[in-house]
């Protein structure tokens, strides 16, 4: 049998999803009823996702649901997240993605509602987040939202969902977590700056040019 490198077992993956959920819940980026996380073993055709409607701060591995890339339940007792369709849409399009976090970052979502885009106010904003696109409003859980997310996720690590929250993706859960946290950190800095001055200083253009070349932004 051909040996393949793996990052760990499915059981470890499920444990890690719950730990990530708890960390984001404690940071206020995922609320009692809002937000969901999924992850898969690299290149797997199915993924584990958090259940819908279960208090997010106390999820346990046995609550998670395994679904196929078509969104069909393979294993688990509970109802998978209503946002399973957009998680599946991301995995179908992005072989490099093995973790998806949909969090309810309050400040990032607030800036989007105010029509303010995330700007390169810090190095992380420019280098880590690159350009953060805003997905227009679509009703949660619908195929329409899944289609829009699928279209916008190409070349992106983070998306803002209008009137809804954000999405961060990564090759593993820590990367996706880093994305949604960075997004909120940048949004917070930008928000605070905007309270005191209109023309927020951005990363100087010559440095941006370097970042663009280095990171392909």
């Amino acid at each position: 049998m051909e040996e393949t490198f793996t990052f760990g077992s499915e059981e470890e993956l499920k444990e890690e999803i719950c730990k990530t959920m708890r960390r984001l819940f404690n940071r206020g980026l995922i609320s009692a009823l809002g937000g969901n996380i999924s992850a898969r073993l690299p290149n797997a055709n199915e993924f584990w996702i958090t259940p819908s409607g279960v208090f997010k701060g106390e999820l346990e591995p046995e609550d998670l649901v395994k679904v196929s890339l078509e969104g069909n339940v393979i294993e688990g007792f509970l109802r998978p997240s209503v946002e399973t369709p957009f998680h599946a849409a991301i995995y179908r399009r992005r072989a490099d993605v093995s973790a998806v976090i949909h969090s309810h970052n309050p400040i990032t979502t607030g800036l989007a509602l105010a029509g303010i885009e995330i700007k390169p106010v810090t190095i992380e904003a420019a280098a880590v987040l690159r350009r953060v696109k805003v997905v227009p409003w679509a009703f949660p859980g619908t195929e329409r939202l899944a289609r829009l997310v699928g279209e916008h996720i190409e070349g992106a690590r983070a998306l803002v969902l209008m009137n809804h929250g954000v999405i961060g993706v990564g090759s593993n859960l820590l990367e996706a977590e880093a994305i949604v946290e960075t997004l909120e950190e940048v949004a917070t800095a930008q928000f605070i700056a905007s309270l005191f001055r209109r023309d927020i200083p951005l990363i100087p253009e010559e440095d941006m040019e370097l970042i663009r070349r280095l990171y392909g932004v």
Binding site: S52, F55, E60, D63, T142
Partner: protein, 623 residues
């Protein structure tokens, strides 16, 4: 009197007690039958197993009041468990109103007690020689003489019975209306909860059975109670956040009255008016403020939509109703009759509970009588009184006359369909029923999908079998693949939505879970599996729902029901409302035809509304 000590059964399926109690009142024979695992998988429990029993055992030509008709009380595998809102039972029989499939549902605590006594259900057949009642005392069953309680009101009979045999018994009983075979008599349990529809109480009365008193001490087995408890604790924030749950918790079902009125959905003056300036007087807000003294809940229900009511002033001051009027009763005995007096509604509800009358059918029959009187089709002499809209004497007087089968009351006791056929002279046009079951309090002109639902529902005009108005109000059920928003006045697409919703509601009524629990369908298979230990999926539950719905349709087909019976009252099809939120709308025969065509096609039925052979084969239903 028969006394028989029954064996305690052993059941391998968790959630189920594994046995059905059988009682033949003619021979006074009592026995038990096991529930087969295959039947539990295919029909779940509740209304599903009841449908199987009636389909297999009651010949379609059997008259409703014949000893051969069977009265089937059923609980479900989730009844009485840790899963919230599982205090309900269903009772089924051939209906004396529709001469076809009949079912009624009720909450409270009686259902759980049946399971604690060791049974999943009770099947009663035959007819007792004299008034009787059944006592089920933790697996010990006996038939007793009901002479002392025959003739008493439901609430009085329950009280007296409990004093005699034990306060910890739970009682379901009929009142004088059931004893006198009023065709819309109901069964009352737990001091005011009603299994209201289809005249099931009259079937019980025809068997000379006054009550079933039950007490049990057994545990209801659950496969993984710790896990269920752990999950439910964490699901509660979402369940309680569901919009209608919030309303029902705050005001009871009456909390939606004003919103429904804005749609033009609340029936007024026998479905003749679309707006009424006195509607606020019977709204949930006013009702809760003036009358409600406490909120109560059925077994394991976090919502507590049950309202304990006391009249403070006026001629009925001091009147207490353990279960006060809910939405259907507030409207059937209120707006439908142009009655804006809350105390009169409470008094009328009290009388209906004591006599054992379905408040919906009672209201519709009274509205029909008043309109007949107004049009000169019934004289004052025939009525025995002057009949006036909004008049308390008319309303309370007719309730008593119906229950006691006096004069005009005796004709109305036959139900609005039979009464209109007797009176004739065009009265059929405003006799508000489908297949003989009086219309509930949602005007289908406001939600056309509800029109289709009323037209095809197996028990006749039924607002609960599908509740498609929720989708027409804008609710999405992504788990059931209902993503789209459908305009309430639109016709296209309603057939598909209704079929899905009906199948799902058969699942809920088989498990049995109250429809007010705002739990997404996707969570139900997991909870079922954790209770029963039998793995299942949403798809397989929905297929069982389709099987159950189709089985009931096939029973109706054998009773002679076809497309010709899937109709709506003339008023709904031809008379548009002249005011309110549904101004000018009807469900024309052409629109109904279009909806029926789509519905039959989605269900795989032929153009005459009869399930095709391949559908029956797929579902394993014998024709």
């Amino acid at each position: 009197m028969v006394f028989k000590r029954l064996q305690r059964g052993v059941c391998n399926m968790h959630g189920y007690m594994g046995k059905i109690l059988r009682v033949d009142l003619s021979s006074e024979k009592i026995w038990e039958e096991p529930i087969r695992e295959e039947d539990a998988r295919r029909f779940i429990g509740g209304v599903g197993l009841a449908a199987k029993i009636i389909y297999d055992e009651v010949k379609p030509e059997t008259p409703a009041f014949s000893p051969e008709n069977k009265l089937v009380f059923m609980t479900g595998p989730l009844t009485g468990t840790l899963v919230p809102c599982t205090g309900r039972y269903v009772v089924c029989a051939k209906s004396p109103l529709t001469d076809a499939w009949g079912e009624a549902h009720s909450g409270g605590f009686w259902a759980r007690e049946i399971k604690r006594a060791g049974y999943d259900g009770i099947v009663i057949e035959g007819m007792a020689e004299k008034p009787s009642y059944i006592v089920i005392d933790d697996g010990e069953v006996r038939i007793e003489d009901a002479k002392r309680i025959w003739g008493l009101g439901c609430l009085e009979a329950e009280e007296k019975l409990k004093k005699e045999i034990g306060e910890d018994f739970k009682v379901a009983c009929i009142g004088p209306a059931g004893e006198r075979l009023v065709r819309f008599a109901c069964i009352i349990n737990d001091g005011g909860r009603a299994a209201g529809r289809c005249g099931i109480g009259a079937v019980m009365g025809s068997k000379m059975l006054k009550a079933v008193a039950v007490r049990g001490r057994r545990e209801i087995p659950m496969k993984d109670p710790e896990r269920i408890r752990g999950i439910l604790r964490r699901i509660y924030p979402q369940i309680m956040s569901f919009p209608t749950t919030q309303i029902h918790a705050s005001y009871g079902t009456s909390g939606e009255l004003l919103s429904f009125h804005q749609y033009g959905d609340v029936p007024i003056k026998n479905f003749k008016l679309g707006d009424w300036d006195k509607i606020e007087g019977i709204s949930g807000e006013v009702y809760n403020k003036l009358m409600v003294k406490a909120k109560k809940a059925c077994w394991n229900c976090p919502i507590a939509c049950w309202r304990y009511v006391e009249v403070n002033e006026g001629p009925y001051a001091g009147l207490i109703l353990n279960r006060g009027p809910e939405y259907e009763t507030l409207t059937a005995l209120g707006s439908l009759l142009l009655n804006d007096k809350l105390d009169v509604i409470v008094k009328a509800n009290y009388l209906c509970n004591q006599y054992g009358l379905d408040t919906i059918s009672t209201g519709v029959c009274i509205a029909f009588a008043i309109e007949c009187y107004e049009r000169g089709l019934i004289s004052e002499e025939e009525a025995g009184m002057t009949l006036k809209w909004g008049d308390s004497e008319t309303i309370l007087g007719l309730i008593e006359a119906i229950a006691e089968r006096r004069r005009l009351g005796s004709l109305l006791a036959e139900g609005v369909k039979r009464a209109s056929e007797k009176i004739s002279k065009g009265s059929e046009k405003f006799a508000m029923h489908v297949k003989g079951l009086e219309m509930p309090m949602h005007d289908p002109r406001a939600f056309k999908g509800m029109g289709l639902q009323y037209a095809v529902s197996n028990r006749g005009a039924c607002h609960l079998q599908g509740m498609v108005l929720r989708i027409e109000q804008g609710e999405r059920l992504t788990d059931l693949k209902i993503y789209e928003r459908l305009d309430r006045f639109e016709v296209k697409g309603k057939g598909r939505i209704l079929a899905i919703m009906q199948n799902w509601h058969e699942v809920l009524e088989s498990l049995i879970i109250c429809k007010f629990l705002g739990i997404p369908p996707g969570h139900i298979p997991g909870l079922y599996t954790l209770v029963t230990g039998m793995p299942t999926s949403l798809e397989s539950l929905l297929e069982a729902g389709e099987r159950i719905y189709t089985l009931k349709r096939m029973f109706n087909v054998k009773c002679g029901i076809t497309r010709k019976d899937d109709v709506l009252p003339y008023r709904i099809m031809y008379e548009g409302l002249k005011e309110g939120g549904t101004l000018g709308n009807t469900i024309s025969p052409e629109e109904l035809k279009a909806m029926l065509d789509e519905y039959y096609s989605v269900r795989g039925w032929d153009e005459n509304g009869i399930p095709r052979g391949e559908v029956l084969k797929r579902l394993g239903v014998q024709s």
